[in-house]
């Protein structure tokens, strides 16, 4: 599930904004009326080609646009609550379970539940039963941006063949170990490097990746501060 999808696809049109005016300008110069012929699209546009190509990245853009429209008209439907439950197993070994969520005005179920196991590697004197929580965070960032790339590319008519995100975070253990109060616990920096094979120019690919960041929930969560409250029942 990528939260960014519904909104990001509509921004595609904005990104190509100048073309509407340019097209209408040429339309006037040619003295034609409303219809834009495909040949016309081809010769004016740097991006208009995306409107006449059929790409299939497996993203249902129409459904996402429909959801966007529905939520615009009924903002309460857009209020979601996402949840996970985390159980301690042993040591730093935990298991999280994800199933229902709240949204569209009601509790929602899905047809499967998912489990995420975390642990630490042997170097941390642990049993290495799963990835560390911070690697799950990096994975979530990579997943959200990659899903966003697929959604934006779909809406722009860009066929993807291969997309891989390599995510790396820098951490100074002096923070989490309490050695140096000036060092933060979390990452001092995160880098994401995409390798993308697609039917598009490097500029078009860069624009898809930028748009994916712009509408990514996880990117926002990591890049911007937020309030967290923790209580004990």
């Amino acid at each position: 599930m990528t939260m960014q999808s519904a909104a990001s696809v509509t921004d595609d049109a904005i990104a190509n904004r100048p073309m509407g005016a340019i097209r209408s300008f040429f339309r006037r110069m040619r003295g034609t009326t409303h219809s834009i012929h495909q040949s016309e699209r081809k010769d004016v546009a740097m991006n208009a080609q995306t409107e006449i190509k059929a790409a299939d990245n497996g993203v249902n853009v129409e459904a996402l646009l429909g959801a966007r429209e529905a939520i615009t008209g009924m903002p309460a439907a857009g209020q979601f609550k996402w949840r996970t439950r985390c159980d301690w197993i042993d040591g730093v070994h935990t298991q999280s379970t994800v199933d229902g969520f709240f949204g569209l005005g009601a509790e929602q179920e899905r047809n499967a539940r998912f489990e995420i196991t975390t642990d630490h590697p042997e170097q941390f004197a642990a049993k290495n039963q799963g990835a560390t929580p911070i690697e799950i965070v990096l994975s979530a960032l990579g997943a959200c941006l990659t899903g966003g790339v697929a959604s934006v590319a779909q809406h722009r008519g860009i066929q993807l063949r291969k997309v891989t995100a390599f995510v790396e975070g820098d951490m100074d253990l002096a923070g989490v170990l309490g050695i140096d109060a000036d060092v933060r616990n979390g990452f001092s920096g995160i880098r994401v490097r995409f390798e993308i094979d697609a039917d598009a120019t490097p500029e078009e690919i860069a624009a898809v990746v930028a748009q994916s960041q712009k509408r990514s929930a996880v990117f926002d969560i990591i890049a911007n501060p937020g309030n967290v409250s923790v209580t004990v029942a």
Binding site: A13, F219, N224
Partner: protein
């Protein structure tokens, strides 16, 4: 009580353009102005402000003004003088010193309450300006006491600010211009940069506004864009009067420090977004698409030979580790200048014509559910240039035609 066919509220470029068009069609009307003609241009602008558009582009309906310096850029006092001359030249019926306090429905159409009494009208045109109040984020409430706060509507000149550092929030034309002059005054500037629109001042030997005008980009209609709500909220293009480009690279070369969008002020700290690099990448990509469109137009229009060759500009430089956390207690920042946009003030409009966020509901200036009520001079009202002086005439003509058709219908009925 006085009755007019049409009442126009605001004697800025939008209201005056409408008045001129209505005069030409002999429609009885009056323009109500709280202060003098072009009041905002006289009172609510900073000292150094000049238009972002060249003089040749300040065209108003019927104005045969002989432009002596077509490529110059007017200061706000010159804009005010120009609009005053336009008013007297056409003998436009402006009633100055008239503060509108309310507008309500009335059997005659609308009833307008002012400090000089009430009047009624069949048509009401709201042309009171898009930049009447400063839009300031909620974060301001958490600003530590002792930190001076200003908006572009209260700011006049750098010397009015305390000595010491200034945090300028917002990277529109306003934010960049003020960051530049404040930094040059010896007050080190930190600039918080969110989404922004980058453009070169001149491209291929011509002003960018010339390209946008000639190619039809400024005429893009509000029905031609896919996400109207979004384009109406876009910050202004980073431009300053003259021939030089003003962008984040220019400011950083001067020593201005750039940070990400100001996300919140918490416990006396300003916290900035870590998404600066992407905001800059988006702006660079969009600028290049604009230049691609200009290049395509140059070829189509046969201008490629007579203009300079295409050019692409250096990407925006982003610091390796942009500032994320600024502690006001360190004393480095003495002032926060909120260049975070402007809003119209429609609080006096006592009619059910607003959306849930308090924005006027309208279709290209024809206010929804209120026959005879019109708006002018708002961002992308009917076309990209709707808030430019150059856009006032076309919008006024369109809405005047709508109004005339309505009046004709009423007469026929």
């Amino acid at each position: 009580m006085d009755h007019h066919t049409t009442v126009i509220i605001g004697a800025g470029q939008a209201g005056l353009a409408m008045s001129q068009v209505l005069s030409a069609h002999s429609v009885d009307h009056v323009v109500l102005e709280r202060g003098e003609v072009a009041n905002s241009w006289r009172k609510d602008r900073w000292d150094s402000l000049r238009l972002l558009t060249p003089n040749w582009q300040s065209r108003l309906p019927g104005d045969a003004h002989d432009e002596t310096d077509p490529d110059g850029f007017m200061a706000s006092a010159e804009v005010a003088a120009r609009l005053a001359a336009y008013t007297s030249g056409f003998g436009l019926p402006v009633q100055t010193g008239t503060d509108v306090m309310s507008a309500t429905s009335d059997p005659a159409g609308y009833r307008v309450g002012t400090n000089r009494g009430d009047l009624t009208c069949a048509n009401l045109v709201v042309a009171s300006g898009a930049c009447v109040t400063a839009s300031v984020p909620a974060a301001k409430a958490a600003l530590p006491s002792g930190i001076h706060s200003a908006t572009p509507l209260t700011y006049k000149r750098p010397s009015d600010l305390p000595e010491g550092g200034v945090l300028v929030v917002g990277a529109s034309a306003t934010g960049l211009q003020l960051a530049r002059e404040i930094h040059a005054s010896g007050r080190p500037v930190t600039l918080a940069v969110g989404e922004h629109v980058r453009a070169p001042r001149r491209y291929r030997g011509r002003d960018i506004q010339w390209w946008m005008d000639a190619s039809g980009l400024q005429d893009t209609g509000y029905r031609e864009v896919d996400d109207l709500d979004r384009v109406r909220r876009l910050p202004s293009m980073q431009l300053v009067a003259g021939s030089d480009t003003l962008d984040l690279n220019v400011l950083q070369a001067m020593g201005v420090r750039v940070a990400g969008r100001l996300t919140m002020i918490r416990d006396g700290h300003a916290l900035f977004s870590g998404a600066l690099a992407n905001h800059c990448a988006l702006a660079d990509l969009k600028m290049n698409r604009l230049l691609d469109a200009v290049d395509a137009f140059a070829i189509k229009a046969g201008l490629a030979g007579e203009t300079d060759p295409p050019e692409r500009f250096a990407p925006t430089a982003v610091p390796d580790a942009p500032l994320l956390d600024l502690d006001f207690a360190r004393g480095e920042i003495r002032t926060v200048l909120w260049a975070t946009g402007y809003r119209p003030d429609h609080s006096w409009l006592d009619l059910p014509v607003f959306d849930r966020k308090g924005r006027l509901l309208h279709d290209g200036g024809v206010v929804t559910g209120a026959p005879g009520l019109y708006a002018l001079g708002l961002p992308f009202l009917r076309r990209r240039k709707s808030t430019l002086i150059d856009g006032a005439g076309a919008d006024a003509r369109d809405l005047a035609h709508h109004m005339l058709a309505r009046l004709a219908d009423r007469q026929a009925a």
